[in-house]
Symmetry: C2
Subunit: 303 residues, 2 copies
Amino acid sequence: MNFEDYRAKKILLVEDFLERVLPPISNPPSILHEAMRYSIFAGGKRLRSLLSIATGDIYFLSDSVIVPPASAIELIHTYSLIHDDLPAMDNDDFRRGKPTSHKKFGEAIAILSGDALLTYAFFILSKYPQEEEYAMRKVRVIEEVSKASGTPYGMVAGQVFDMENTDKNRKVEDIEKLHSTLVDLHSKKTGALISVAVKIGYIMGGATKKEEEFLDNYSKNIGIAFQIVDDVLDEISSQEKMGKRVKKDREEGKLTYPLLFGVEKSIEMARDHVEEAKSHLEHFGERGKILSVIADFIVDREF
Amino acid sequence: MNFEDYRAKKILLVEDFLERVLPPISNPPSILHEAMRYSIFAGGKRLRSLLSIATGDIYFLSDSVIVPPASAIELIHTYSLIHDDLPAMDNDDFRRGKPTSHKKFGEAIAILSGDALLTYAFFILSKYPQEEEYAMRKVRVIEEVSKASGTPYGMVAGQVFDMENTDKNRKVEDIEKLHSTLVDLHSKKTGALISVAVKIGYIMGGATKKEEEFLDNYSKNIGIAFQIVDDVLDEISSQEKMGKRVKKDREEGKLTYPLLFGVEKSIEMARDHVEEAKSHLEHFGERGKILSVIADFIVDREF
Protein backbone atom coordinates (compact mmCIF):
# COMPACT_ATOMS: atom_id res chain seq x y z
CA MET A 1 0.00 0.00 0.00
CA ASN A 2 1.36 3.45 -0.77
CA PHE A 3 1.66 6.07 1.94
CA GLU A 4 -1.27 8.23 0.86
CA ASP A 5 -3.62 5.23 1.00
CA TYR A 6 -2.18 4.15 4.35
CA ARG A 7 -2.60 7.65 5.70
CA ALA A 8 -6.18 8.04 4.45
CA LYS A 9 -7.14 4.66 5.90
CA LYS A 10 -5.66 5.38 9.33
CA ILE A 11 -7.09 8.88 9.52
CA LEU A 12 -10.50 7.37 8.85
CA LEU A 13 -10.03 4.94 11.75
CA VAL A 14 -9.10 7.80 14.10
CA GLU A 15 -11.96 10.03 13.01
CA ASP A 16 -14.48 7.18 13.12
CA PHE A 17 -13.36 6.35 16.64
CA LEU A 18 -13.62 9.97 17.80
CA GLU A 19 -16.98 10.37 16.08
CA ARG A 20 -18.22 7.35 18.02
CA VAL A 21 -16.85 8.17 21.48
CA LEU A 22 -17.12 11.96 21.77
CA PRO A 23 -20.41 13.13 23.30
CA PRO A 24 -22.96 13.79 20.53
CA ILE A 25 -24.17 17.35 19.96
CA SER A 26 -27.70 16.21 20.85
CA ASN A 27 -26.46 15.56 24.42
CA PRO A 28 -26.61 18.61 26.66
CA PRO A 29 -24.69 20.85 27.03
CA SER A 30 -24.99 20.90 23.23
CA ILE A 31 -22.99 24.07 22.72
CA LEU A 32 -19.98 22.53 24.46
CA HIS A 33 -20.12 19.30 22.46
CA GLU A 34 -20.62 21.26 19.25
CA ALA A 35 -17.51 23.33 20.03
CA MET A 36 -15.45 20.23 20.84
CA ARG A 37 -16.45 18.57 17.58
CA TYR A 38 -16.03 21.76 15.57
CA SER A 39 -12.35 21.92 16.48
CA ILE A 40 -11.66 18.19 16.37
CA PHE A 41 -13.22 17.60 12.97
CA ALA A 42 -11.77 20.74 11.33
CA GLY A 43 -9.23 18.63 9.48
CA GLY A 44 -5.58 18.65 10.41
CA LYS A 45 -2.76 16.37 9.38
CA ARG A 46 -3.36 13.86 12.20
CA LEU A 47 0.43 13.48 12.24
CA ARG A 48 0.50 12.49 15.90
CA SER A 49 -2.10 9.74 15.51
CA LEU A 50 -0.28 8.43 12.46
CA LEU A 51 2.96 8.24 14.41
CA SER A 52 1.31 6.21 17.18
CA ILE A 53 -0.34 3.86 14.71
CA ALA A 54 2.73 3.43 12.49
CA THR A 55 4.88 2.70 15.56
CA GLY A 56 2.23 0.24 16.72
CA ASP A 57 2.49 -1.45 13.31
CA ILE A 58 6.04 -2.48 14.18
CA TYR A 59 4.49 -4.60 16.93
CA PHE A 60 1.53 -5.77 14.84
CA LEU A 61 -0.94 -4.06 17.20
CA SER A 62 -4.60 -4.43 16.32
CA ASP A 63 -6.66 -1.30 15.62
CA SER A 64 -8.66 -1.78 18.81
CA VAL A 65 -5.47 -1.49 20.86
CA ILE A 66 -3.75 1.44 19.16
CA VAL A 67 -6.49 3.60 17.63
CA PRO A 68 -7.94 4.81 20.98
CA PRO A 69 -4.67 6.16 22.47
CA ALA A 70 -3.64 7.44 19.01
CA SER A 71 -6.91 9.39 18.88
CA ALA A 72 -6.54 10.71 22.42
CA ILE A 73 -3.35 12.48 21.41
CA GLU A 74 -5.30 14.41 18.75
CA LEU A 75 -7.66 15.65 21.47
CA ILE A 76 -4.71 17.03 23.40
CA HIS A 77 -3.20 18.61 20.29
CA THR A 78 -6.54 20.23 19.44
CA TYR A 79 -7.14 21.53 22.97
CA SER A 80 -3.71 23.18 22.86
CA LEU A 81 -4.56 24.93 19.59
CA ILE A 82 -7.88 26.22 20.97
CA HIS A 83 -6.21 27.69 24.05
CA ASP A 84 -3.21 29.04 22.07
CA ASP A 85 -5.56 30.89 19.73
CA LEU A 86 -7.37 32.72 22.57
CA PRO A 87 -7.22 36.55 22.67
CA ALA A 88 -5.12 36.41 25.86
CA MET A 89 -2.57 34.25 24.02
CA ASP A 90 -1.88 34.37 20.26
CA ASN A 91 -5.20 36.07 19.50
CA ASP A 92 -5.79 34.26 16.19
CA ASP A 93 -8.99 34.48 14.18
CA PHE A 94 -8.44 31.59 11.77
CA ARG A 95 -7.28 28.01 12.14
CA ARG A 96 -7.40 25.34 9.42
CA GLY A 97 -9.25 27.84 7.23
CA LYS A 98 -12.13 28.32 9.66
CA PRO A 99 -12.85 30.85 12.41
CA THR A 100 -11.10 29.87 15.65
CA SER A 101 -13.19 28.41 18.46
CA HIS A 102 -13.52 31.65 20.45
CA LYS A 103 -14.48 33.54 17.28
CA LYS A 104 -17.29 31.07 16.67
CA PHE A 105 -18.43 30.16 20.18
CA GLY A 106 -17.09 32.95 22.39
CA GLU A 107 -14.19 32.83 24.81
CA ALA A 108 -15.90 31.03 27.69
CA ILE A 109 -16.97 28.07 25.57
CA ALA A 110 -13.59 27.99 23.81
CA ILE A 111 -11.75 27.74 27.14
CA LEU A 112 -14.17 25.10 28.44
CA SER A 113 -14.12 23.03 25.25
CA GLY A 114 -10.31 22.96 25.48
CA ASP A 115 -10.58 21.84 29.11
CA ALA A 116 -13.11 19.19 28.15
CA LEU A 117 -10.99 17.84 25.28
CA LEU A 118 -7.92 17.55 27.50
CA THR A 119 -9.97 15.76 30.14
CA TYR A 120 -11.58 13.49 27.55
CA ALA A 121 -8.16 12.45 26.30
CA PHE A 122 -7.40 10.97 29.72
CA PHE A 123 -10.81 9.32 29.78
CA ILE A 124 -10.00 7.53 26.52
CA LEU A 125 -6.47 6.66 27.63
CA SER A 126 -7.79 5.06 30.82
CA LYS A 127 -10.77 3.30 29.29
CA TYR A 128 -9.32 1.78 26.09
CA PRO A 129 -8.27 -0.91 25.33
CA GLN A 130 -10.56 -2.43 27.94
CA GLU A 131 -8.77 -5.76 28.47
CA GLU A 132 -7.19 -6.00 31.92
CA GLU A 133 -3.89 -7.21 30.48
CA TYR A 134 -3.23 -3.67 29.22
CA ALA A 135 -3.61 -1.96 32.61
CA MET A 136 0.11 -1.51 33.25
CA ARG A 137 0.81 -0.26 29.75
CA LYS A 138 -2.09 2.18 29.96
CA VAL A 139 -0.76 3.57 33.24
CA ARG A 140 2.65 4.12 31.67
CA VAL A 141 1.08 5.76 28.61
CA ILE A 142 -0.93 8.12 30.81
CA GLU A 143 2.16 9.08 32.78
CA GLU A 144 4.13 9.81 29.59
CA VAL A 145 1.27 11.72 27.98
CA SER A 146 0.74 13.87 31.06
CA LYS A 147 4.45 14.67 31.23
CA ALA A 148 4.57 15.54 27.52
CA SER A 149 1.48 17.77 27.77
CA GLY A 150 2.23 19.67 30.95
CA THR A 151 5.10 21.25 32.82
CA PRO A 152 8.10 21.40 33.37
CA TYR A 153 9.00 19.09 30.45
CA GLY A 154 6.00 19.39 28.18
CA MET A 155 3.74 21.44 26.01
CA VAL A 156 2.33 23.92 28.53
CA ALA A 157 5.86 24.83 29.62
CA GLY A 158 6.80 25.22 25.93
CA GLN A 159 3.88 27.56 25.39
CA VAL A 160 5.06 29.81 28.24
CA PHE A 161 8.62 29.82 26.86
CA ASP A 162 7.19 30.70 23.46
CA MET A 163 5.20 33.61 24.92
CA GLU A 164 8.37 34.90 26.55
CA ASN A 165 10.25 34.49 23.28
CA THR A 166 9.30 37.82 21.70
CA ASP A 167 11.79 40.58 21.26
CA LYS A 168 11.22 43.04 18.45
CA ASN A 169 14.68 44.47 18.91
CA ARG A 170 16.46 41.14 18.99
CA LYS A 171 20.06 41.22 17.82
CA VAL A 172 21.15 37.95 16.28
CA GLU A 173 24.56 37.72 17.85
CA ASP A 174 25.41 34.58 19.75
CA ILE A 175 23.87 32.15 17.24
CA GLU A 176 24.99 29.05 19.12
CA LYS A 177 23.31 30.18 22.33
CA LEU A 178 20.12 31.27 20.56
CA HIS A 179 20.04 27.97 18.66
CA SER A 180 20.21 26.00 21.88
CA THR A 181 17.44 28.16 23.40
CA LEU A 182 15.36 27.42 20.33
CA VAL A 183 15.93 23.66 20.47
CA ASP A 184 14.93 23.64 24.13
CA LEU A 185 11.77 25.67 23.46
CA HIS A 186 10.73 23.52 20.51
CA SER A 187 11.45 20.23 22.24
CA LYS A 188 8.75 21.20 24.74
CA LYS A 189 6.26 23.16 22.64
CA THR A 190 5.92 20.66 19.78
CA GLY A 191 8.58 17.99 20.26
CA ALA A 192 7.20 16.47 23.45
CA LEU A 193 3.80 15.62 21.95
CA ILE A 194 5.37 14.21 18.77
CA SER A 195 7.71 12.08 20.87
CA VAL A 196 4.96 10.81 23.11
CA ALA A 197 2.91 9.82 20.05
CA VAL A 198 5.73 7.42 19.17
CA LYS A 199 6.02 6.32 22.81
CA ILE A 200 2.32 5.39 22.82
CA GLY A 201 3.00 3.02 19.93
CA TYR A 202 5.99 1.31 21.48
CA ILE A 203 4.62 1.14 25.03
CA MET A 204 1.39 -0.48 23.84
CA GLY A 205 3.51 -2.73 21.61
CA GLY A 206 5.87 -3.85 24.37
CA ALA A 207 9.17 -2.69 22.83
CA THR A 208 12.53 -3.63 24.29
CA LYS A 209 14.64 -0.94 26.02
CA LYS A 210 16.96 -0.86 23.01
CA GLU A 211 14.05 -0.38 20.61
CA GLU A 212 12.64 2.38 22.81
CA GLU A 213 15.96 4.20 22.47
CA PHE A 214 15.98 3.90 18.67
CA LEU A 215 12.43 5.15 18.47
CA ASP A 216 13.05 8.02 20.91
CA ASN A 217 15.97 9.14 18.74
CA TYR A 218 13.77 8.90 15.68
CA SER A 219 11.00 10.98 17.23
CA LYS A 220 13.36 13.58 18.67
CA ASN A 221 14.77 14.25 15.22
CA ILE A 222 11.47 14.39 13.36
CA GLY A 223 10.20 16.71 16.09
CA ILE A 224 13.00 19.18 15.38
CA ALA A 225 12.52 18.82 11.61
CA PHE A 226 8.79 19.43 12.04
CA GLN A 227 9.33 22.65 13.94
CA ILE A 228 11.94 23.95 11.50
CA VAL A 229 9.52 23.38 8.63
CA ASP A 230 6.78 25.08 10.66
CA ASP A 231 9.00 28.14 11.10
CA VAL A 232 9.88 28.14 7.39
CA LEU A 233 6.25 27.79 6.28
CA ASP A 234 5.24 30.68 8.55
CA GLU A 235 7.87 32.73 6.72
CA ILE A 236 7.26 31.68 3.07
CA SER A 237 3.76 30.19 2.76
CA SER A 238 0.42 31.93 2.35
CA GLN A 239 -2.64 32.16 4.60
CA GLU A 240 -4.57 30.42 1.83
CA LYS A 241 -2.40 27.31 1.91
CA MET A 242 -1.93 27.22 5.68
CA GLY A 243 -5.49 28.04 6.70
CA LYS A 244 -4.13 30.38 9.35
CA ARG A 245 -2.34 33.71 9.67
CA VAL A 246 1.29 33.61 8.46
CA LYS A 247 4.40 35.75 8.94
CA LYS A 248 3.38 36.08 12.56
CA ASP A 249 6.75 35.07 13.95
CA ARG A 250 8.56 37.93 12.30
CA GLU A 251 5.90 40.47 13.34
CA GLU A 252 6.11 39.34 16.94
CA GLY A 253 9.88 39.24 17.07
CA LYS A 254 10.00 35.49 17.63
CA LEU A 255 13.23 33.58 17.56
CA THR A 256 12.99 31.13 14.64
CA TYR A 257 15.20 28.98 12.40
CA PRO A 258 14.80 31.26 9.35
CA LEU A 259 15.79 34.24 11.51
CA LEU A 260 18.92 32.50 12.76
CA PHE A 261 19.96 30.59 9.65
CA GLY A 262 17.94 31.86 6.69
CA VAL A 263 15.32 29.83 4.81
CA GLU A 264 17.61 27.66 2.67
CA LYS A 265 19.96 26.62 5.42
CA SER A 266 16.96 25.91 7.68
CA ILE A 267 15.46 23.54 5.10
CA GLU A 268 18.81 21.81 4.80
CA MET A 269 18.96 21.39 8.57
CA ALA A 270 15.46 19.91 8.58
CA ARG A 271 16.50 17.39 5.91
CA ASP A 272 19.54 16.43 7.97
CA HIS A 273 17.36 15.73 10.98
CA VAL A 274 15.05 13.61 8.84
CA GLU A 275 18.00 11.58 7.59
CA GLU A 276 19.24 11.10 11.13
CA ALA A 277 15.73 10.09 12.23
CA LYS A 278 15.60 7.48 9.47
CA SER A 279 19.01 6.07 10.43
CA HIS A 280 17.55 5.07 13.80
CA LEU A 281 14.95 2.93 12.04
CA GLU A 282 17.48 0.56 10.43
CA HIS A 283 17.10 -1.89 13.31
CA PHE A 284 13.46 -2.46 12.32
CA GLY A 285 14.02 -3.23 8.63
CA GLU A 286 10.83 -3.39 6.59
CA ARG A 287 8.69 -2.86 9.69
CA GLY A 288 10.02 0.70 10.04
CA LYS A 289 9.12 1.63 6.48
CA ILE A 290 6.03 3.70 7.26
CA LEU A 291 7.80 5.69 9.98
CA SER A 292 10.50 6.43 7.43
CA VAL A 293 7.95 7.73 4.92
CA ILE A 294 6.35 9.86 7.63
CA ALA A 295 9.75 11.44 8.30
CA ASP A 296 9.99 12.44 4.62
CA PHE A 297 6.42 13.71 4.68
CA ILE A 298 7.37 16.08 7.49
CA VAL A 299 9.85 18.05 5.37
CA ASP A 300 8.00 17.73 2.08
CA ARG A 301 4.64 19.01 3.33
CA GLU A 302 3.36 22.36 2.18
CA PHE A 303 0.85 22.96 4.97
CA MET B 1 -8.45 11.99 67.83
CA ASN B 2 -11.02 14.75 67.38
CA PHE B 3 -12.03 15.88 63.92
CA GLU B 4 -10.11 19.17 63.90
CA ASP B 5 -6.86 17.36 64.74
CA TYR B 6 -7.60 14.70 62.13
CA ARG B 7 -8.32 17.35 59.55
CA ALA B 8 -5.20 19.40 60.32
CA LYS B 9 -3.02 16.29 60.17
CA LYS B 10 -4.40 15.11 56.84
CA ILE B 11 -4.28 18.56 55.24
CA LEU B 12 -0.61 18.68 56.20
CA LEU B 13 -0.01 15.37 54.45
CA VAL B 14 -1.69 16.62 51.29
CA GLU B 15 0.12 19.95 51.27
CA ASP B 16 3.47 18.34 52.03
CA PHE B 17 2.98 15.93 49.17
CA LEU B 18 2.02 18.71 46.73
CA GLU B 19 4.89 20.87 47.94
CA ARG B 20 7.24 17.98 47.18
CA VAL B 21 5.92 16.92 43.76
CA LEU B 22 4.86 20.17 42.08
CA PRO B 23 7.64 21.77 39.99
CA PRO B 24 9.59 24.25 42.13
CA ILE B 25 9.44 27.95 41.26
CA SER B 26 13.19 27.86 40.62
CA ASN B 27 12.51 25.53 37.65
CA PRO B 28 11.73 27.39 34.43
CA PRO B 29 9.18 28.50 33.37
CA SER B 30 9.18 30.05 36.86
CA ILE B 31 6.16 32.26 36.30
CA LEU B 32 4.02 29.23 35.46
CA HIS B 33 5.15 27.27 38.50
CA GLU B 34 4.70 30.31 40.70
CA ALA B 35 1.13 30.72 39.42
CA MET B 36 0.34 27.02 39.98
CA ARG B 37 1.65 27.18 43.54
CA TYR B 38 -0.02 30.52 44.25
CA SER B 39 -3.45 29.02 43.60
CA ILE B 40 -2.78 25.60 45.13
CA PHE B 41 -1.37 26.92 48.39
CA ALA B 42 -3.94 29.70 48.83
CA GLY B 43 -5.70 27.69 51.51
CA GLY B 44 -9.06 26.11 50.90
CA LYS B 45 -10.97 23.54 52.88
CA ARG B 46 -9.31 20.53 51.18
CA LEU B 47 -12.70 18.87 51.56
CA ARG B 48 -12.18 16.64 48.53
CA SER B 49 -8.82 15.31 49.73
CA LEU B 50 -10.26 14.70 53.18
CA LEU B 51 -13.09 12.68 51.67
CA SER B 52 -10.65 10.47 49.75
CA ILE B 53 -8.46 9.95 52.80
CA ALA B 54 -11.33 9.34 55.21
CA THR B 55 -12.87 6.82 52.79
CA GLY B 56 -9.45 5.18 52.45
CA ASP B 57 -9.34 4.91 56.26
CA ILE B 58 -12.24 2.46 56.08
CA TYR B 59 -9.86 0.16 54.21
CA PHE B 60 -6.82 0.95 56.38
CA LEU B 61 -4.96 2.41 53.39
CA SER B 62 -1.48 3.71 54.11
CA ASP B 63 -0.68 7.37 53.44
CA SER B 64 1.58 6.47 50.53
CA VAL B 65 -1.37 4.85 48.73
CA ILE B 66 -4.13 7.39 49.34
CA VAL B 67 -2.42 10.78 49.76
CA PRO B 68 -1.26 11.10 46.10
CA PRO B 69 -4.67 10.56 44.45
CA ALA B 70 -6.33 12.58 47.24
CA SER B 71 -3.97 15.45 46.42
CA ALA B 72 -4.54 15.14 42.68
CA ILE B 73 -8.20 15.92 43.18
CA GLU B 74 -7.24 19.25 44.78
CA LEU B 75 -5.27 20.15 41.64
CA ILE B 76 -8.39 19.57 39.56
CA HIS B 77 -10.57 21.54 41.95
CA THR B 78 -8.08 24.43 41.91
CA TYR B 79 -7.72 24.44 38.10
CA SER B 80 -11.51 24.70 37.83
CA LEU B 81 -11.55 27.73 40.17
CA ILE B 82 -8.80 29.49 38.17
CA HIS B 83 -10.67 29.01 34.89
CA ASP B 84 -14.08 29.86 36.42
CA ASP B 85 -12.70 33.14 37.74
CA LEU B 86 -11.45 34.31 34.31
CA PRO B 87 -12.93 37.50 32.80
CA ALA B 88 -14.62 35.45 30.05
CA MET B 89 -16.36 33.37 32.73
CA ASP B 90 -17.33 34.65 36.21
CA ASN B 91 -14.86 37.56 36.06
CA ASP B 92 -13.93 37.43 39.74
CA ASP B 93 -11.15 39.50 41.30
CA PHE B 94 -10.84 37.71 44.65
CA ARG B 95 -10.63 34.10 45.73
CA ARG B 96 -9.76 32.85 49.21
CA GLY B 97 -9.09 36.46 50.19
CA LYS B 98 -6.39 36.99 47.56
CA PRO B 99 -6.38 38.38 44.01
CA THR B 100 -7.46 35.72 41.52
CA SER B 101 -4.79 34.15 39.31
CA HIS B 102 -5.48 36.31 36.23
CA LYS B 103 -5.46 39.45 38.40
CA LYS B 104 -2.03 38.54 39.70
CA PHE B 105 -0.40 36.85 36.68
CA GLY B 106 -2.45 37.96 33.69
CA GLU B 107 -4.96 35.96 31.71
CA ALA B 108 -2.53 33.92 29.60
CA ILE B 109 -0.63 32.54 32.59
CA ALA B 110 -3.90 31.95 34.47
CA ILE B 111 -5.28 29.86 31.61
CA LEU B 112 -2.02 27.94 31.23
CA SER B 113 -1.58 27.34 34.95
CA GLY B 114 -5.08 25.85 35.02
CA ASP B 115 -4.19 23.64 32.06
CA ALA B 116 -0.97 22.60 33.76
CA LEU B 117 -2.67 21.77 37.07
CA LEU B 118 -5.29 19.62 35.33
CA THR B 119 -2.55 17.81 33.41
CA TYR B 120 -0.44 17.39 36.54
CA ALA B 121 -3.35 15.76 38.33
CA PHE B 122 -3.30 12.95 35.76
CA PHE B 123 0.46 12.70 36.08
CA ILE B 124 0.10 12.09 39.82
CA LEU B 125 -2.82 9.69 39.37
CA SER B 126 -0.80 7.59 36.90
CA LYS B 127 2.50 7.70 38.78
CA TYR B 128 1.44 7.07 42.41
CA PRO B 129 1.36 4.68 44.17
CA GLN B 130 4.21 3.19 42.16
CA GLU B 131 3.72 -0.49 43.02
CA GLU B 132 2.59 -2.54 40.03
CA GLU B 133 -0.17 -4.20 42.04
CA TYR B 134 -2.12 -0.92 41.95
CA ALA B 135 -2.13 -0.57 38.13
CA MET B 136 -5.72 -1.72 37.65
CA ARG B 137 -7.06 0.40 40.48
CA LYS B 138 -5.19 3.44 39.17
CA VAL B 139 -6.69 2.95 35.71
CA ARG B 140 -10.17 2.82 37.21
CA VAL B 141 -9.48 5.92 39.33
CA ILE B 142 -8.28 7.85 36.27
CA GLU B 143 -11.37 6.84 34.31
CA GLU B 144 -13.68 7.97 37.12
CA VAL B 145 -11.79 11.21 37.71
CA SER B 146 -11.83 12.10 34.01
CA LYS B 147 -15.57 11.42 33.82
CA ALA B 148 -16.25 13.51 36.94
CA SER B 149 -14.13 16.42 35.67
CA GLY B 150 -15.28 16.60 32.07
CA THR B 151 -18.39 16.27 29.98
CA PRO B 152 -21.19 15.14 29.58
CA TYR B 153 -21.44 13.93 33.22
CA GLY B 154 -18.88 16.07 34.99
CA MET B 155 -17.65 19.43 36.10
CA VAL B 156 -17.02 21.13 32.74
CA ALA B 157 -20.56 20.26 31.63
CA GLY B 158 -21.83 21.65 34.96
CA GLN B 159 -19.96 24.89 34.40
CA VAL B 160 -21.66 25.33 31.01
CA PHE B 161 -25.08 24.62 32.52
CA ASP B 162 -24.30 27.15 35.24
CA MET B 163 -23.37 29.80 32.66
CA GLU B 164 -26.67 29.19 30.91
CA ASN B 165 -28.52 29.41 34.23
CA THR B 166 -28.91 33.17 34.38
CA ASP B 167 -32.23 34.84 33.94
CA LYS B 168 -32.74 38.18 35.60
CA ASN B 169 -36.48 38.04 34.87
CA ARG B 170 -36.94 34.53 36.16
CA LYS B 171 -40.41 33.77 37.51
CA VAL B 172 -40.36 31.14 40.22
CA GLU B 173 -43.38 29.19 39.08
CA ASP B 174 -42.95 25.48 38.55
CA ILE B 175 -40.82 24.87 41.66
CA GLU B 176 -40.68 21.12 41.16
CA LYS B 177 -39.28 21.48 37.65
CA LEU B 178 -36.79 24.19 38.64
CA HIS B 179 -35.69 22.10 41.63
CA SER B 180 -34.94 19.14 39.39
CA THR B 181 -33.00 21.40 36.97
CA LEU B 182 -31.00 22.64 39.95
CA VAL B 183 -30.23 19.15 41.27
CA ASP B 184 -29.04 18.12 37.81
CA LEU B 185 -26.82 21.21 37.44
CA HIS B 186 -25.29 20.82 40.89
CA SER B 187 -24.69 17.11 40.55
CA LYS B 188 -22.34 17.95 37.69
CA LYS B 189 -20.86 21.29 38.74
CA THR B 190 -19.85 20.32 42.29
CA GLY B 191 -21.38 16.92 43.03
CA ALA B 192 -19.32 14.91 40.55
CA LEU B 193 -15.95 15.92 42.01
CA ILE B 194 -17.13 15.34 45.58
CA SER B 195 -18.44 11.92 44.60
CA VAL B 196 -15.26 10.95 42.80
CA ALA B 197 -13.21 11.96 45.85
CA VAL B 198 -15.06 9.24 47.77
CA LYS B 199 -14.71 6.84 44.82
CA ILE B 200 -10.92 7.31 44.90
CA GLY B 201 -10.93 6.11 48.51
CA TYR B 202 -13.02 3.03 47.90
CA ILE B 203 -11.42 2.03 44.60
CA MET B 204 -7.92 2.21 46.07
CA GLY B 205 -9.28 0.36 49.11
CA GLY B 206 -10.91 -2.46 47.13
CA ALA B 207 -14.49 -2.01 48.35
CA THR B 208 -17.22 -4.54 47.59
CA LYS B 209 -20.01 -3.61 45.14
CA LYS B 210 -22.41 -3.23 48.06
CA GLU B 211 -20.02 -0.92 49.89
CA GLU B 212 -19.53 1.15 46.75
CA GLU B 213 -23.27 1.66 46.62
CA PHE B 214 -23.46 2.81 50.24
CA LEU B 215 -20.58 5.21 49.73
CA ASP B 216 -22.00 6.55 46.45
CA ASN B 217 -25.27 7.28 48.23
CA TYR B 218 -23.35 8.99 51.02
CA SER B 219 -21.37 11.18 48.60
CA LYS B 220 -24.40 12.06 46.48
CA ASN B 221 -26.19 13.41 49.54
CA ILE B 222 -23.28 15.37 50.97
CA GLY B 223 -22.73 16.82 47.48
CA ILE B 224 -26.25 18.21 47.42
CA ALA B 225 -25.93 19.49 51.00
CA PHE B 226 -22.62 21.14 50.13
CA GLN B 227 -24.13 23.02 47.22
CA ILE B 228 -27.20 24.13 49.15
CA VAL B 229 -24.93 25.55 51.87
CA ASP B 230 -22.84 27.24 49.17
CA ASP B 231 -25.96 28.91 47.79
CA VAL B 232 -27.03 29.97 51.29
CA LEU B 233 -23.59 31.35 52.18
CA ASP B 234 -23.53 33.36 48.95
CA GLU B 235 -26.82 34.88 50.08
CA ILE B 236 -26.15 35.52 53.77
CA SER B 237 -22.38 35.61 54.37
CA SER B 238 -19.86 38.41 53.86
CA GLN B 239 -16.94 38.85 51.48
CA GLU B 240 -14.72 39.05 54.57
CA LYS B 241 -15.68 35.60 55.80
CA MET B 242 -15.82 33.95 52.36
CA GLY B 243 -12.70 35.51 50.85
CA LYS B 244 -14.61 36.10 47.63
CA ARG B 245 -17.44 38.21 46.26
CA VAL B 246 -20.86 37.28 47.65
CA LYS B 247 -24.51 37.84 46.63
CA LYS B 248 -23.40 37.15 43.06
CA ASP B 249 -26.11 34.59 42.40
CA ARG B 250 -28.92 37.02 43.01
CA GLU B 251 -27.27 39.75 40.90
CA GLU B 252 -26.83 37.39 37.99
CA GLY B 253 -30.29 35.90 38.16
CA LYS B 254 -29.02 32.44 39.06
CA LEU B 255 -31.36 29.71 40.07
CA THR B 256 -30.49 28.77 43.67
CA TYR B 257 -31.94 26.97 46.67
CA PRO B 258 -32.58 30.20 48.64
CA LEU B 259 -34.40 31.63 45.60
CA LEU B 260 -36.63 28.57 45.30
CA PHE B 261 -37.16 27.70 48.96
CA GLY B 262 -35.91 30.61 51.10
CA VAL B 263 -32.90 30.45 53.42
CA GLU B 264 -34.44 28.59 56.36
CA LYS B 265 -36.08 25.86 54.35
CA SER B 266 -32.84 25.47 52.33
CA ILE B 267 -30.79 24.89 55.49
CA GLU B 268 -33.34 22.36 56.64
CA MET B 269 -33.07 20.54 53.29
CA ALA B 270 -29.28 20.49 53.59
CA ARG B 271 -29.56 18.96 57.07
CA ASP B 272 -31.94 16.31 55.75
CA HIS B 273 -29.43 15.35 53.07
CA VAL B 274 -26.68 15.13 55.67
CA GLU B 275 -28.82 12.83 57.78
CA GLU B 276 -29.53 10.66 54.78
CA ALA B 277 -25.84 10.60 53.89
CA LYS B 278 -25.00 9.43 57.40
CA SER B 279 -27.62 6.67 57.27
CA HIS B 280 -25.67 5.06 54.42
CA LEU B 281 -22.62 4.79 56.67
CA GLU B 282 -24.29 2.45 59.21
CA HIS B 283 -22.87 -0.59 57.41
CA PHE B 284 -19.33 0.55 58.29
CA GLY B 285 -19.85 1.06 62.03
CA GLU B 286 -16.95 2.79 63.78
CA ARG B 287 -14.90 2.86 60.54
CA GLY B 288 -17.39 5.32 58.99
CA LYS B 289 -17.11 7.77 61.90
CA ILE B 290 -14.89 10.33 60.19
CA LEU B 291 -17.05 10.43 57.06
CA SER B 292 -20.01 11.07 59.33
CA VAL B 293 -18.26 14.00 61.01
CA ILE B 294 -17.30 15.40 57.58
CA ALA B 295 -20.99 15.33 56.62
CA ASP B 296 -21.82 17.45 59.67
CA PHE B 297 -18.93 19.80 58.90
CA ILE B 298 -20.44 20.45 55.48
CA VAL B 299 -23.60 22.05 56.88
CA ASP B 300 -22.01 23.63 59.92
CA ARG B 301 -19.24 25.46 58.06
CA GLU B 302 -19.32 29.22 57.81
CA PHE B 303 -16.97 29.58 54.81
